[in-house]
């Protein structure tokens, strides 16, 4: 691996996303390179932006009480209480948001979707909790190479807000999971368009999927 290759793998390693031969070779190189370890530290610190950017969720009073009871051992206190509580609160927000994003009870609020003119047989549903959404669609046409479907959140901003990119399988089915920039409010909608690979910052017409009436 060249130094450029290693630098390119550092962010994936910091996220825990490296696997296979890439992981084995990078781990080996990491042992002997202080500069590479420093780069990984920088990327790891950058990952803090992801949980801390989420909409905060307050813990239940009962859960907070149980937590404080469980750590009320004076001998363990080795740092200022304020610091610990502050970061604990930040981490608590992360964990709740994480669980919310990955746990999807069936009674979640959601919206039925239907295909528009370019994809009249498309049907589907999008469900959400806090700022996590899961999209399920069927009946979408396959796209030519170099194009992807893009999900948009319509309503919270003057222009549709890009949410996620996805493709369809051979049967025209698609699923996508994403984190919204804005919470879903009454009157909001979702739409799907066809965009160039990599997605677009602004929505391109025509709409393939729109909210069902």
């Amino acid at each position: 691996l060249t130094p450029q290759d290693l630098e390119g793998l550092a962010p994936l390693y910091a996220l825990g996303a490296l696997d296979g031969d890439d992981l084995a070779r990078f781990s080996e190189e990491l042992q002997g390179s202080e500069s590479l370890r420093a780069l990984v530290r920088e990327y790891r610190d950058a990952t803090a932006a992801l949980p801390l950017s989420l909409e905060p969720l307050a813990p239940s009073p009962a859960g907070k009480g149980r937590l404080l009871d469980s750590v009320a051992t004076p001998a363990q206190r080795s740092a200022p209480v304020f610091t610990r509580v502050f970061w604990a609160a930040a981490a608590l927000l992360l964990a709740v948001a994480l669980l919310r994003s990955l746990s999807a009870p069936p009674e979640l609020p959601g919206m039925d979707l239907r295909g528009d003119r370019p994809a009249p047989s498309a049907r589907g549903r999008i469900v959400w909790r806090a700022r996590s959404v899961e999209l399920t669609l069927t009946g979408l046409p396959a796209l030519p190479p170099g194009q992807v479907y893009q999900l948009w959140h319509v309503g919270p901003a003057p222009r549709p807000v890009p949410v996620a990119l996805f493709s369809v399988d051979a049967d025209g089915r698609a699923q996508a999971w994403a984190t919204l920039k804005y919470a879903v409010e009454k009157g909001d909608g979702f739409a799907v368009t066809r965009e160039p690979a990599g997605g677009s910052p602004t929505c391109t017409l025509p709409l393939f999927v729109v909210p069902a009436p």
Binding site: G8, P11, L12, L15, G16, A17, L18, D19, G20, E42, Y43, R44, D45, A46, T47, A48, A49, L50, L52, S53, L54, E55, P56, L57, A58, P59, G63, R66, L67, S70, V71, Q76, S78, A79, T83, R84, W87, A88, A90, A91, L92, L94, A95, V96, L98, L102, S103, A104, P105, P106, Q150, V163, A164, L165, S167, T179, K181, G198, G199, S200
Partner: protein
């Protein structure tokens, strides 16, 4: 999950090493890893058809409840801006790795994109976040 993770962090605080990253990163990584491990174990025990059913309800949530008293609200706004400013494809790949614990290969499979494309998206996205976080915040926390 939360109680176990925080208790572990509290009791293992002495093991923190600055060479591995900031205290904030260390704590958040511990919580994230614990939550993902728990969910993976839970999914491994459940048939696919019932994975989304029967989950225990989480603690009551009150969005915005403490926002007015949160001293880090301004900083969070800055971080949220850095994340939301990422191009959609880069943000999606980075979030799939972080929040869902997916590997580069799993992300490529789910998105139906070549592995090299996923690597590039993650690298570009993380580069942007790293630069955004190293910039002055413009205000006291």
């Amino acid at each position: 999950v939360l109680q176990g993770a925080f208790t572990r962090l509290w009791r293992e605080a002495g093991r923190y090493e600055a060479s591995g990253g900031s205290p904030r990163t260390w704590i958040l990584s511990g919580i994230r890893n614990g939550a993902i491990d728990r969910l993976r174990r839970r999914e491994a025990l459940q048939p696919a058809a019932t994975r989304s059913a029967g989950r225990a309800p989480g603690p009551p949530e009150t969005p915005h409840a403490h926002e007015a008293h949160d001293p880090s609200a301004k900083e969070r706004e800055r971080l949220a801006g850095a994340v939301s400013d990422l191009p959609a494809d880069q943000r999606q790949a980075v979030e799939m790795a972080y929040f869902e614990g997916l590997s580069q290969t799993q992300i490529a499979q789910r998105l139906g994109e070549p592995l090299g494309t996923v690597k590039t998206r993650v690298r570009l996205g993380m580069d942007r976040l790293r630069k955004a976080l190293s910039a002055p915040s413009g205000g006291a926390p």
